[in-house]
Subunit: 302 residues, 2 copies
């Protein structure tokens, strides 16, 4: 697929995604070497290397490169972002949480290793993520600390965990306001997507106003990403998704399509992505990867 859009002329997103995914998969594989006790490393690697689109690491690398940094400067953080994302999926799938048996087309971590190991594998991935950022070679220490602070905010009670809590509290309620739904998603999905992009920028040595501009880009694509997720939960099959479909309806979750209908939800996602792409105009062709990634987010099928 060649995205022949005016914004990203001549740029092959499919080729870019494939290349970047291969680079990220290799780096992830090398990030975690099996040692004693073997069980925990296997459990960590089982979920970390289970595939997925690797959107978060790719966003981080793309932001760093757009701002003049190298892939090497952002690679540890890119891997750390995938470790954190994986941790959140492992814990989210637990019986005490969403109780999911299937993830990326494979049995969930606790189905293979047991609940106790799954909890510990998540904990180990989370702490290793921070360690791995701190181990980045050839980047000024001050930048790494900034990234670590932002990662902490994105994952903890101020971010992902906070979003999960409000999501849990809203389950089964039919009168959830759109503000609450926005809170859930800007925290549960949005905060981590945002730090992918801002961390990449910070590692490259971006000025605060550039980081700010990329924050807005990321907020727009983050919300669009979630709206599309909600739509796909209704329209896609389990085979396409690699996880159970129709979970939101079954759990009586309020979603964007349930509030707005599918058509208006699609229009809203398109609008957010158009804004994200427009905000990158100052960067010209250098922004092609981030622009194409924004379009991919609304057009994806899983």
């Amino acid at each position: 697929m060649v995205v022949a859009d005016a914004h990203t002329q001549g740029f092959s997103l499919a080729q870019y995604l494939q290349e970047q995914k291969t680079i990220v998969e290799t780096a992830l594989d090398q990030s975690l070497v099996i040692t004693e006790p073997v069980t925990i490393y296997e459990a960590m690697r089982y979920s970390l290397l289970a595939g997925g689109k690797r959107l978060r690491p790719i966003l981080c690398l793309a932001a760093c490169e757009m701002l003049g940094g190298t892939a090497a400067m952002a690679m540890n953080t890119a891997c750390a972002l995938e470790m954190i994302h994986t941790m959140s999926l492992i814990h989210d799938d637990l019986p005490a949480m969403d109780n999911d048996d299937l993830r990326r087309g494979k049995p969930t971590n606790h189905k293979v290793y047991g609940e106790d190991i799954a909890i510990l594998a998540g904990d180990a991935l989370l702490s290793y993520a921070f360690e791995y950022v701190a181990r980045t070679p050839d980047v000024p220490a001050e930048r790494l600390l900034q990234v670590i602070v932002r990662l902490g905010q994105a994952v903890g009670a101020e971010g992902l965990v906070g979003g999960q809590v409000v999501d849990l509290e809203s389950e089964g309620k039919t009168d959830v306001a759109v503000e609450t739904l926005n809170f859930i998603h800007t925290h549960k999905t949005g905060a981590l997507l945002e730090v992918c992009v801002t961390a990449g920028a910070i590692l490259a040595g971006a000025k605060p106003e550039e980081v700010q501009l990329l924050s807005r880009y990321a907020q727009n694509i983050g919300l669009a990403f979630q709206i599309v997720d909600d739509i796909l939960d209704i329209t896609a099959t389990a085979e396409e998704l690699g996880k159970t479909a129709g979970k939101d309806l079954e759990a009586q979750k309020v979603t964007y399509p349930s509030l707005w209908g599918i058509e208006k939800s699609q229009a809203e996602a398109q609008k957010l992505v158009a804004e994200a792409i427009a905000s990158l105009e100052p960067y010209g062709e250098k922004a092609n990867p981030l622009k194409a990634l924004a379009e991919y987010i609304v057009n994806r099928k899983n």
Copy 2:
């Protein structure tokens, strides 16, 4: 109690512990301000502020001060160590792990907030711990990164989590070797106690050979700590412990007393502590707090 030992003459450990505990409690209380969503902050604070001896933060502050640093330089890391310790207790108490109802004389986190929130509260405390170290004011960024790397090693698969996994794998086995028991405890308890002391030293700007010396001190008291824990599980009451007593026997866990008997276990703990104290001789009176803390570890009643 005045420790009138030759090593720590005129130093009141009881007064020191009381003062330091108060300082740490205040810092912990201020470290985590309740905001939206309230539930998760309450759950985090419930366990973080549930009392306890605060040995880990006190060790960190004492090591930093012995090496010429200030309490302010080590306070964020001291709090982070208690956050990590608290996370490990919350997750350890879960039904899928040790299934404990009582901790520090109070219902465990999941008994009060539910399993889902308890898992998330642990995750949030863990990520906040790293963020909080990275936010330390007035300490060179390079030192903070070193501390973050060591924290990650101490908590993850190389440390605490690795120890937990081998502990889980050894449960119900009656033929556990002393090497395996040592692996469990140097990882499950020892690694975090060690980083308390080495992090304090690094924050103060200690030379690598000083950090090395303090590592050995911490390894000795860490193992002594665990041996005494095993003894107290047999000899102390639930009231004294603030948690269920006799759990090890019930779970058929191999412990130091089960391998060596109580008397030899006590002698071994004494020997380890004597070595730890002797290693601090070069620091003279400045080492009084760390020496007294080592003695406290073998003489404590809970």
